[in-house]
């Protein structure tokens, strides 16, 4: 197996493993649009990273975290409905990113790679960044699992029972921000949320516990990565979209299998 394919496999599979449990929270807490907004803003992070000449993964992670904090602050003020606010931020940060990139002299970047991912171009350095980031996210998810679940089920009850609800919510947003920054290389800013949502949505119908749903989503995500890369290798299709197409296929399959009684 050529090196680049091995790197692509490792990166894709580790992302799918983390996206299962994290994406389950995105589905349960109805944060799909939040994830979309963060990922759109990632392009602005790229543009600023190039402009300031810093490591792009770091730039994107920092950008996503900043936007997550800004969103929480703005939502707290309640000037506008959440979805309106998210829509404004998603598209203005995406556009601003494109404009800044266009204004940056002398640098030509492959925009398509950032929008739709370029899994097969991942190098060793990229892979280490990814494994490091995803490892941190997975560890924190494991440690916070029960508390995250409690806050998701009923925030006030969790608060009365002594949980630091605001900190836990913020932690979840930061975890999502990190995963989005990492996943951008793999499926691109426009497709990241699909990996967070589609596998959990497919696993949900046949799960009886939150953990079954999370693990099922991880497995389906891994299968989608394998299927997508296989498709890409044999049919010469773009890797990121191929993975998403496979995930959507599994979703359809899960919907057509009757639920256990």
């Amino acid at each position: 197996m050529p090196d680049f394919l091995l790197y692509a496999l490792l990166a894709g599979l580790s992302l799918a493993l983390v996206a299962g449990p994290l994406g389950s929270f995105v589905v349960w807490r109805r944060m799909a649009y939040f994830g979309d907004t963060l990922s759109h803003s990632a392009l602005l992070g790229i543009a600023l990273g190039i402009l300031l000449d810093i490591n792009l993964t770091v730039a994107v992670t920092a950008g996503c975290i900043l936007l997550a904090v800004l969103l929480v602050a703005l939502q707290h003020r309640q000037w506008l409905a959440s979805d309106t606010l998210l829509g404004i931020l998603a598209h203005s940060t995406l556009s601003l990113g494109l404009v800044v990139l266009a204004l940056t002299d002398g640098i030509r970047i492959d925009l398509m790679a950032y929008l739709f991912g370029d899994l097969l171009a991942i190098g060793v350095a990229d892979l280490y960044w990814m494994l490091g980031g995803l490892g941190i996210v997975m560890t924190l998810l494991g440690l916070l699992w029960r508390r995250l679940l409690s806050v998701t089920v009923h925030e006030e009850l969790a608060r009365v029972e002594g949980l630091p609800v605001t900190a836990i919510r913020l932690a979840l947003m930061l975890l999502i921000a990190i995963v989005i920054a990492v996943a951008m290389k793999i499926v691109g800013v426009l497709l990241i949320t699909s990996l967070l949502i589609i596998p959990p949505a497919a696993a949900q119908r046949h799960a009886r516990t939150p953990e079954q749903m999370a693990i099922g989503a991880s497995l389906l995500g891994c299968l989608a990565v394998l299927g997508g890369l296989y498709m890409s290798w044999n049919l010469d299709t773009p890797a990121g979209p191929s993975i998403v197409v496979c995930a959507a296929g599994f979703f359809m399959l899960a919907m057509s299998i009757p639920r256990r009684a």
Binding site: R30, V153, V160, E161, R208, P210
Partner: protein, 258 residues
């Protein structure tokens, strides 16, 4: 025994520029059931949220017994349909709870047959019992129940109130609960606080049901419990604001007393 679990002194709260609570004082003793009643928008839930520490009052003092464990039963529980959660898993979310304790709490509220049922598939009355079990898991000194009988039919309501009384007897905990309906809680509560942003009247349920302030606030609904001869020191306008009435009670369309 003589020290209250909870003592609120002259609590005031303004939300979005309008007064929600005005100089409300309240105290709950160990083993005592205190029921907050009042019309919609009277500030009952806000007061409960202040007790729970979910909301900060603008002025006034909240005193709680040191290391007071509070069991809270929220008004409703909405769980996204995509979250597969069985009743036992829901109860296990309470911090530091063992499986045996979960079953025990469910038996206590008469809902042990629901142990493995998905939370989205229980009825309104069953859900109230499950929420009560979650509150009990805290081994509370004080139970705070926000409309514990919401969405339950009348027979179920009476049963739930009886259950709450039994639990109080058994654990000796104080209970602070919100209710709409004085009739049903009469038999099970020690103290009624009639709230309409300020404390209209408070005391034993019989006493409150006869209080002119209560009658004026609840009008026709409460008139079955009202007696005929009383004096009023204030009246309420349509918004529930206190209106000064030098000559006593102003008779409204809902009054059927002389």
């Amino acid at each position: 025994m003589n020290e209250p679990l909870l003592d609120l002194e002259r609590i005031s709260l303004r939300l979005h520029g309008s007064s929600v609570l005005d100089q409300v004082s309240l105290r709950v003793m160990p083993g005592e059931i205190v029921t907050l009643i009042g019309p919609n928008g009277a500030g009952k839930t806000s007061l409960v949220r202040i007790v729970l520490g979910l909301l900060k009052s603008d002025s006034g003092k909240v005193w709680k017994q040191p290391r007071l464990r509070v069991g809270y039963m929220p008004q409703k529980l909405h769980i996204d349909a995509t979250l597969p959660l069985t009743v036992d898993r829901f109860l296990m979310l309470s911090p530091g709870v063992k499986r045996a304790a979960v079953l025990e709490a469910l038996v206590e509220v008469g809902a042990d047959h629901l142990l493995k049922r998905p939370l989205q598939q229980v009825s309104g009355g069953e859900l109230q019992r499950i929420l009560l079990a979650r509150a009990l898991l805290r081994k509370p000194h004080l139970l705070v129940l926000d409309e514990p009988v919401q969405g339950v039919d009348v027979n179920g309501q009476i049963e739930l109130y009886q259950l709450i009384t039994r639990l109080r007897d058994r654990y000796g905990c104080g209970v602070l609960m919100v209710s709409h309906d004085l009739h049903l809680v009469m038999a099970t509560t020690n103290t009624v606080v009639c709230l309409n942003r300020h404390v209209c009247c408070s005391g034993h349920p019989e006493q409150v049901s006869l209080d002119p302030a209560f009658v004026a606030l609840f009008g026709e609904q409460a008139s079955a419990l009202a007696v005929y001869n009383h004096h009023h020191d204030h009246a309420h306008d349509l918004h529930g604001e206190v209106v000064d009435t030098p000559e006593g009670h102003q008779h409204g369309p809902n009054c059927n007393h002389a």
